[in-house]
Symmetry: C2
Subunit: 417 residues, 2 copies
């Protein structure tokens, strides 16, 4: 008898009618002989309303109190699903983070799960009881509730799956899987049947908002096979694909992916700003003098490019930050002046990053070159380039984002056939 974790987000539990549909999905898996643990978010809108109450109560509020208030939303949905399941004749009980417990670190408001004691869950699952678990929350070392940060229920689900040694963690979302790129930009985008953890991590970090980045990291570390599927599917007879399996995308180890593609997907992000320091005095330790103060101020620096100095005395340094950190970063750079000598600083909010992702790149040269050629042929100017083993990221002017994504999507055989 295999164990299965099923995760449903806020829209799926927005009211009792939706919760009844969730219960029917659960019943299907129980009837199929699975031991089932369900992880839930709060009702759609409820977390936002609770956050708003905290902000109204005090803009600079104690994040431990925020956690207590905000975590109450999941307490409601898990109790209600347990009631509905019981009404359908399925043995079920709800579990709050502190009851299991799901232990987190002390970082209230954005805590990380440290450990899950699954002993009692395993024992009850073995007796056929469905565990309905509150996502997004755990017990901090101070014996108080800690939340995992927005979208944390995905992470809860994967962590529970790891602790239970579950065969699979099914994430029910409002899309039916992970696509080769954003279907709103490229109508020919295809749903991927499978994607490797590493690829999904790049896709998630780069703006494909299907899963929270941290949940993918956790799935990769613990080898949790994570299946993204649609919560709008017929609960009794979910749509199946060519292989007779439910429609969705399995995020798994690359060994499970038989037909490896050169490129798996194209991601993009408009949440980028670029800052360039011109004619910086070129001496050892200059990069540290620039980036240490930014790190200390928690400015999230992403791409960094330092050109080779032409005259051997000065160099240009360019880097990117999220748009929300842009003003703060510019102000910090201005303050560096006495210590770091540079001619001028300028920046722009008007940039975007497009990325080509695929584990196949590891063994194939030429992927980058064809990307640059394709963009050049469309007259798109490349501002910055960074690469990793399985990814090429290119910074361009924001206005060209859609054109760049469409161009790259077409040259790597990703378009629907």
């Amino acid at each position: 008898m295999s164990r299965l974790v099923m995760k449903f987000g806020g829209t799926s539990v927005a009211d009792i009618d939706r919760i009844r549909i969730v219960a029917r999905h659960v019943k299907r898996e129980v009837d199929a002989g699975h031991q089932v643990a369900v992880v839930l978010s709060a009702m759609a809108g409820s977390t936002n309303a609770l956050v708003e109450l905290c902000l109204t109560a005090g803009a600079l509020h104690d994040v431990r109190e925020y956690d207590a208030v905000v975590a109450s939303g999941e307490q409601v949905t898990i109790g209600l699903l347990a009631i509905v399941l019981q009404g359908m004749g399925i043995d079920a009980r709800s579990w709050l983070g502190w009851q299991i417990p799901i232990r987190t670190d002390a970082a209230h408001g954005a805590a990380r799960i440290q450990d899950i004691d699954a002993t009692e869950l395993v024992e009850r699952l073995g007796r056929g009881q469905v565990a309905v678990i509150a996502g997004f929350q755990g017990l901090a070392p101070d014996n108080r509730i800690a939340t995992l940060g927005r979208g944390g229920s995905d992470t809860s689900a994967v962590a529970v799956a790891a602790a239970l040694g579950a065969e699979r963690c099914d994430i029910y979302t409002d899309v039916d899987g992970v696509y080769t790129t954003d279907p709103r930009i490229v109508s020919a985008a295809r749903r991927l049947d499978r994607i490797a953890f590493e690829e999904m991590l790049e896709m998630a970090s780069l703006g494909a908002k299907v899963l929270q980045v941290r949940s993918v990291e956790l799935a990769m570390v613990h080898g949790v096979r994570t299946f993204v599927r649609s919560s709008f599917d017929d609960p009794e007879a979910p749509q199946t694909g060519a292989d007779n399996q439910p429609v969705g995308t399995l995020i798994c180890d690359e060994d499970e992916i038989v037909e490896k593609q050169l490129v798996t997907g194209i991601a993009y992000s408009k949440d980028e700003a670029k800052i360039t320091l011109r004619a910086v005095e070129d001496r050892p330790g200059i990069a540290a003098s620039i980036f240490s103060p930014l790190a200390a101020a928690a400015v999230n620096v992403d791409m960094i490019v330092q050109n080779i100095s032409e005259d051997g005395r000065t160099t240009d340094v360019t880097f990117t930050v999220p748009t929300s950190d842009y003003d703060r970063a510019m102000a910090l750079i201005e303050k560096l002046k006495p210590e770091v000598t540079f001619e001028s600083v300028n920046g722009s909010n008007d940039v975007a990053k497009v990325s080509v992702i695929g584990i196949g790149m590891r063994s194939h040269a030429g992927v980058a070159a064809s990307a640059f050629e394709a963009l050049a042929s469309r007259g798109i100017n490349i501002l910055l380039i960074t690469t990793s083993e399985i990814k090429i990221s290119i910074l361009i002017e924001a206005a060209f984002t859609e054109l760049a994504v469409r161009t790259l999507h077409s040259i790597y055989d990703l378009d629907k056939t």
Copy 2:
């Protein structure tokens, strides 16, 4: 430095503006040098909404799941008050039932508090931190949340006050104290400055809805001085009475009441039904044969009168039950027929109980007689009478309720001067 418990109900924490007013009441007491623990209900309406969700999810729901869902309301208000207090520069933290813990018995949905571990509360109060505690909830032996039943926050407050050895437990309500009778019926009703625990217990059981009965029992057992006062009072300058004390009613040991009244108050209840069995076979054990089956069916029998048999062979038995138990009780009585011989049974929903309450009655004869005379002079027919040391209860036709209450209120010098 004395310890004070302050309890606020749902209307007092209905939104952030009201919570800010609560915080100002708390600040006044902190500034006055008290160590303060605050006990809160959920926002007005929120508990009803959560109960409704449970009922919609399943009419016959698991009460442990109900507890998890419904207890989430207090989690919100305590966090918010802690945030507001901190914003005013007052050190404060929220406490959920399971964090203290407030241990209850296993009776989910209507649990009783067994024990409160006040060690950490006492330590933190001593450091000047305000404890903001969730009312209405505790931790059951199964490590799950248990609620105390509706109105349970009063009981939480008194139990916390007992555990802390608090000087006083202030219950902030929408009235400014306990009155000699319902002011909607008798405009001359007076607010009592003090009332003895035993008297308040009778007043509370008999329908004066200021405090939950169980909280008064608990206050009596542990000798917790409980002060009922208005939440609409000016937070910075509460209204004071002749003795320069805040306006309200202190529920205390009778030793603290210097000027003892013969009669303290008149209570009434329209939630009564009467059932009479005529010509019941009069033999030993007949009362048990009637009332044991009713008790087994959890029918709440209140007054019982068995007349002396005229012929030595048959007797009449009359008793009262809450109107909600009336139909069930009548059906049960019909089923007794083979075992208990009686001529006929009849009943009525159309009755009310008025009660005269006062510890002074213990040492004064004639209180009952004057009540009967006064009612007779108004043409009010007495259906049943029961008495205790400090109370006379009289069952009458419901139509005469207001007249009876006004009549009794006037003959014992209770009218405002």
